[in-house]
Symmetry: C2
Subunit: 366 residues, 2 copies
């Protein structure tokens, strides 16, 4: 096995949004990219603009590649990886699935000793769109890209994938497959389950109490926004990470029960202490890693009229203040709107001045 130290040719298997975006990002830095998809019509759309070459078969796509990126649906990843490891004996192979342990195990069963060339990956971002027509070379810019490297991974293969991820503009982060799956269980899968459970519970209660959602204000909306995600995709992800997700749910339930006991027994000091710890942790949580050192949140009231937000964002733009995040916090019914604008902490006083100069009355919350 000869692992290239330089990447000249990349094959992308599965040319949906992520696969095509990986291909476009590689083509952007001068790499020759060949795409393949089991659906010929999807492949035609992915290669229509000429940036990606089209291969008529998985093996042909992989044949000359230094690196093969498997971007198929999660259920097909392990078998596709194993096929590529056989078909392209010198290629390094990576994937982009959201769960890693189950795929590593399945590949180990199928690969007959070739698995050291497989470097599992997971870009922690992308787009909620789907299909190659929404792909773009910039979709993965700056995204944290987990590389799930185990003891059997060839170090040269790991270095090759790490270099590729950085070269196309993302941020590689090495961790074991087990650690990856545990971290995403807490940071991604549990929030999804909690949101779905809360929305489902409210919908059940609503059958008896139609007014329950009349009283549901902004906080309830925040908590249940994720519940509108794709059910089939989540069914697959949760099945593939079932043990870690079950553990995360157990820890969450324990924590809810500790809080429940403190509330039910009137131990208000304990309740306040828990709330205070969580508040401090939330304030430390950056809205984006680039501003992790500190962000500020400004609350601004605007009339609920066409163009009202435009006034706010226009003065911020003219004042050269970058808005890191912006959330409309409505009163339960129209009439006016409250907006939370997040800016880098260092930009907060400038942003407040700019807003006040334009007649707004910002309050710094955090």
């Amino acid at each position: 096995v000869t692992i290239s130290s330089e990447i000249r040719r990349v094959a992308v298997l599965g040319t949906g949004l992520i696969g095509t975006s990986v291909g476009l990002a590689a083509a952007r830095i001068g790499i020759t990219v060949t795409g393949w998809d089991h659906d010929a019509e999807v492949l035609a759309r992915a290669t229509a603009n000429g940036s990606l070459a089209s291969a008529d078969g998985l093996e042909r796509a992989a044949a000359d590649a230094d690196l093969v990126v498997v971007c198929t649906p999660i259920a097909d990843v392990a078998s596709t990886v194993a096929r590529v490891l056989r078909a392209a004996p010198d290629a390094v192979v990576t994937d982009v699935a959201s769960v890693k342990g189950a795929i590593v195990a399945a590949v180990a069963e199928l690969d007959e000793g070739r698995g050291s060339r497989f470097v599992p990956g997971h870009p922690m971002g992308g787009s909620e769109r789907s299909g190659p027509e929404h792909a773009s070379a910039s979709v993965l810019d700056g995204v944290v890209w987990a590389l799930a490297i185990g003891p059997d991974t060839d170090p040269a293969a790991a270095a090759l994938v790490e270099g590729f991820v950085a070269a196309i503009g993302a941020r590689p982060a090495r961790m074991t497959p087990q650690r990856h799956d545990r971290l995403v269980a807490f940071a991604s899968h549990l929030p999804q389950v909690a949101s779905t459970a809360l929305m489902g519970l409210a919908a059940t209660e609503e059958a008896d109490e139609p007014d329950i959602l009349l009283l549901a204000a902004g906080g309830f909306r925040d908590l249940t926004r994720l519940a509108a995600s794709n059910p089939a995709l989540w069914g697959e992800i949760l099945a593939a990470n079932r043990e870690r997700v079950a553990e995360a749910i157990d820890r969450f339930v324990e924590r809810l029960q500790v809080l429940r006991a403190a509330i039910a027994e009137g131990r208000t000091d304990d309740v306040v202490r828990s709330f205070d710890d969580a508040k401090q942790a939330r304030l430390r949580l950056a809205t984006k890693p680039t501003v992790r050192a500190g962000v500020a949140v400004l609350q601004v009231e605007i009339p609920d009229l066409p163009g009202a937000l435009a006034g706010l964002t226009a003065v911020m733009g003219e004042g050269d203040v970058n808005i890191e995040d912006l959330q409309i916090v409505h009163s339960p019914e129209g009439g006016r709107g409250t907006v939370h604008v997040t800016v880098a902490a260092g930009a907060a006083s400038g942003a407040s001045e700019v807003l006040r100069g334009a007649g707004f009355d910002p309050i710094r919350l955090a």
Copy 2:
């Protein structure tokens, strides 16, 4: 006891943000308003602009009032209501606290038969600011205002408060104190507890796994935003509604455990069915009651640069499209931003056209 059918004089006890806003809204429609606060300095700030008269004592403020609105901190509400019922034998009394059952019970113990003139209330909105200087007559415009009316409430007193709430621009909604407390336990208190528990759990895990928040994307942020709320205030609210909150947590835990079992046992069809039910319920949930009949969510990509949002909101304003909600959905690191813009369903195609005309590429998600 003679209950007025017309409100000429209102007393506001507790001139913080809500109390002063109620007073200003009443003054706006020609009612004479007298304020009182146990903190003379707060009262001076509330009455500085001349819209509210200042009384030097709770009893004096209440003496001539047709309606007394108690806006003190929750711990002082019941004793204040009882004092007012004694001091002003013809006045109707209401309050604005977030929990009703405990206050009704405490007033019943203290009031010696005068409680039929007490009509408990709870405006489901307001502002996260505090202090009279952030009060405004419009803070409560359009807000749903629960009136917790029990069997002992005098119907004329209930009608008086209901008329007052509507006259100052809010939306009265009658329900029993028990039902109010049960509904807010699910729609408001449980989301707060869930958010705090999730953030606390992630902070604990972070001690072992510093990278956990590196993998926390927009969904985690949505779920934990509420965790930054005021701990002392929530300690009070949860203590006052402890039984209902405990019941809501129990129901939530049951639901999490049902999902946990389906995930752990690989019953993916059951998982997908739960997710699908929750998704449908979330899509039915209006972003605001005024657009409950249907909203549309457009996803738009914008560069992560000062002024980028301004371009988007400016064209919406120029195109006369009202933005009902707007959420920045970042990739985990900067470089570009994805924005979800919510508009009334009937305005969706117009909004899409306006955006496309300005070079954006909106995708309708819902």
